[in-house]
């Protein structure tokens, strides 16, 4: 999927990411830009406006959880399907999440990285990240049945 150099570039940039903030921002934007994704978070309370979403502590907490998981995946870029096997089963069997949502979140994450890193987030770096988010999305969908 990625050459050694490309993996290094991805890992370097991601090393600068404020995991606490980026996860919450990505999940928050998903819920605002694609409001139908709120269907999975009925227990989160008020998600009716962008302010409500970004002020919601459950969104921040869950966003961090999701990004922590993504970070773990980055350490195993050679075997994403293995790395996300049990999470894949969870999302299918217990959470019943349409894998289309993994693609949406992946692209939102790319937008968040662009916003935070500006010109440092070059087209080449974006291309590498697109491969990673696609790989993660496919890995999370892999055990669906």
């Amino acid at each position: 999927m990625l050459s050694a150099e490309e993996k290094a570039a991805v890992t370097t940039l991601f090393g600068k990411v404020k995991v606490d903030e980026v996860g919450g921002e990505a999940l928050g934007r998903l819920l605002v830009v694609y409001p139908w994704t709120q269907r999975f978070f009925e227990s989160f309370g008020d998600l009716s406006t962008a302010d409500a979403v970004f002020g919601n502590p459950k969104v921040k907490a869950h966003g961090k959880k999701v990004l922590d998981s993504f970070c773990e995946g980055l350490k195993q870029l050679d075997d994403l399907k293995g790395a996300f096997a049990s999470l894949s089963e969870l999302h299918c069997d217990k959470l019943h999440v349409d894998p289309e949502n993994f693609k949406l979140l992946g692209n939102v994450l790319v937008v968040v990285l662009a916003r935070r890193f500006g010109s440092e987030f070059t087209p080449e770096l974006q291309a590498n990240f697109q491969k990673v988010v696609t790989g993660v999305a496919n890995a999370l969908a892999h055990r669906y049945h």
Partner: protein
């Protein structure tokens, strides 16, 4: 799907900043498109797509200018882009998936250049607007 008044306001106001940099925004959007989605290059076998290419810059400007035309007629995008819609349907016949790729790359470019303006509400408004534009450009396909 149609834009709310708030969404229209956001788009028109961001456009005033974008319109001063159509070259830069357009070129970068296409560079991102061709880097991330190499299949899009199949529509440009006749172009030099290397960084710095004059063709890339010219075409990028053209694309962003067309988005601008849609912004200026935000209440009636279909009429503003009617000719472009016919061009894409009968001549260019670009597979519709590529409009999603291009829209995403434009959003990434906007986020990168306007971090403070590209709030979640702005992100939502632009994603929706570009989705409408893409719909108009493909509505005569069949």
């Amino acid at each position: 799907m149609s834009l709310t008044r708030a969404e229209r306001t956001i788009i028109v106001s961001m456009w005033s900043k974008i319109s001063t940099q159509t070259d830069v925004i357009g070129t970068e959007t296409l560079e991102r498109l061709f880097s991330c989605y190499p299949q899009a290059k199949t529509y440009f076998p006749h172009f030099d797509l290397h960084t710095g290419s004059a063709q890339l810059r010219a075409h990028g400007s053209k694309v962003v200018a067309a988005v601008g035309d849609a912004v200026k007629s935000i209440d009636n995008v279909a009429s503003a882009l009617s000719k472009l819609s016919e061009l894409h349907a009968y001549v260019l016949r670009v597979d519709p998936v590529n409009f999603k790729f291009l829209s995403h790359c434009l959003l990434v470019t906007l986020a990168s250049h306007f971090p403070a303006d590209f709030t979640a509400d702005a992100h939502a408004a632009w994603d929706k607007f570009l989705s409408i534009v893409s719909g108009v450009l493909t509505e005569k396909y069949r």
